[in-house]
Amino acid sequence: MLSAFAAVVTAAAVVAATVAGIAVLRRQPDPSSAHWSTTLPVLGGSEPQVHAWNRFHARYYPMTLVLVAFEMEMMFMYPWAVVFAELGVKALVEMGVFLALLSLGVLYAWREGALRWQ
């Protein structure tokens, strides 16, 4: 029974190993390429004053929170989809109400401008 997942994992692992193998392939570096100057980040000719790794302001952060809440609910929808045809109109109405509730959340977020870059 678990053989299906064993197949998925094996396939993914083999592909990952191949790609990682290509990604670590390195030609014998030219001695001159060991220079510090070759390692500067690409900025089109200028030198950075600070590291790129700093507090990064993701301008869409309220949207990610809306997504997290929305996506929780999606977990109910998968089993719902499986029994939908059996239950018929009841399931349709049921999910309609559920989605309408969540749409209110998205509508509110949109109205407050939370889907824009802050």
Binding site: A34, H35, T38, G45, S46, H57, R59
Partner: protein
């Protein structure tokens, strides 16, 4: 066997070229863009050959050498124009390619590299010249997590106002002058918070010290407009259309020009990338600007000379504040001609 096969196969690939363009390099840029045997790449990391073209401001010497070093070694270097660039940059034995037919020389250089030639040695310092300061082994530490200069660079600091966690670090960065989206001889100095510009200055390079190299713009006025459209297409991710536009720019025959205009003006084409982007105080967005270029190209091809405005880069800064970095770069790209002419004005030559 494999070691033999790889270079043989690789030779069929187009030459990935990183272009460091000075002023009035439209001729070379467009020829390289139009040739399927060459691929103008976005980043020096993706190139085998660095091409230096046009009239490069003396102030950009360090920048050229930094881009030079960022091309992975073994790297090829070629200069388009004249020997003065080679001497100024002290590049040693570097081919000077003719501006009207640069591709065969590039191809030769590329194949020599694949065959195992050494390429141009790195020019920058071998070690980080920035002082590592702090108490730890990597120059870190001293005063809490933000102290010291880890790996030679200080931590970015949040802007002065506010401390309640939402005023996040502002990265002081200078982009250019050799970023593909930027017009020649222009740098973008920004305070970047996330991907939004909180602080912008568009700074033309200082031309007081003069320029090196010869300027070889396209001979036809229509060609210049189309070349700018081609560059904008490339920035918007439409490299194939950019190639087509560049070919028309080299030979702006009326039918070809009309066909290109039809293709570009379709809804959902290039407009997807430019509609509503970079609206300046005059009310025009990027789409209006390249539409105007197309109109001017058509007019020039018909023998009329309407000419375009100049935009002073220094006045552009406030209009870009608050834009996303990509928007800002597309905006600058949609002002390529206007900005380049304003920058080159002190030189007296209509670039």
């Amino acid at each position: 066997m494999l070691t033999d096969l790889l270079p043989r196969l690789a030779r069929h690939a187009p030459v990935p070229v990183c272009l460091a363009r000075g002023l009035a390099a439209t001729g070379v840029t467009t020829r390289l863009r139009a040739d399927p045997d060459v691929r103008l790449v976005a980043s020096p990391r993706q190139a085998t050959v660095l091409v230096i073209a046009g009239a490069v401001p003396r102030a950009a010497r360090d920048a050229v050498l930094r881009v030079h070093d960022q091309v992975p070694a073994p790297r090829g270097v070629a200069v388009v124009g004249d020997q003065s660039l080679v001497e100024w940059l002290d590049l040693g034995d570097v081919p000077v390619l003719p501006a009207d037919d640069p591709v065969p020389g590039l191809r030769r250089l590329h194949e020599q590299l694949l065959a195992g030639a050494g390429g141009s040695p790195s020019r920058g310092p071998a070690d980080n010249p920035v002082e590592w300061s702090g108490v730890g082994p990597h120059g870190q530490g001293g005063e809490g997590m933000m102290g010291g200069k880890p790996y030679g660079r200080p931590m970015a600091m949040p802007p002065q106002e506010g401390r309640d966690g939402l005023a996040l670090d502002r990265l002081p960065l200078v982009f250019g002058p050799f970023l593909p989206a930027l017009p020649a001889a222009v740098q973008l100095e920004v305070g970047l918070q996330g991907d939004v510009l909180e602080e912008v200055r568009v700074v033309p390079l200082d031309l007081d010290a003069g320029v090196v190299g010869s300027s070889r713009p396209l001979s036809s006025a229509a060609g210049r407009y189309l070349a700018a459209v081609a560059e904008l297409c490339a920035v918007a991710g439409l490299d194939a259309l950019a190639c087509r536009a560049a070919r028309v720019a080299l030979d702006p025959a009326p039918e070809a020009l009309a066909d290109l205009r039809r293709r570009l003006r379709r809804r959902g084409g290039l407009r997807q990338a430019t509609d509503g982007v970079g609206r300046l105080p005059d009310g025009r967005d990027a789409t209006d600007r390249w539409h105007r270029w197309l109109d001017l190209a058509a007019a020039a091809a018909a023998g009329e000379h309407a000419g375009h405005d100049r935009v002073d880069p220094r006045e552009l800064g406030p209009a870009l504040v608050g834009l996303e970095l990509g928007h800002a770069l597309v905006t600058l790209s949609s002002l390529r001609l206007e900005l380049e002419d304003a920058v080159a004005a002190p030189l007296g030559a209509g670039a």
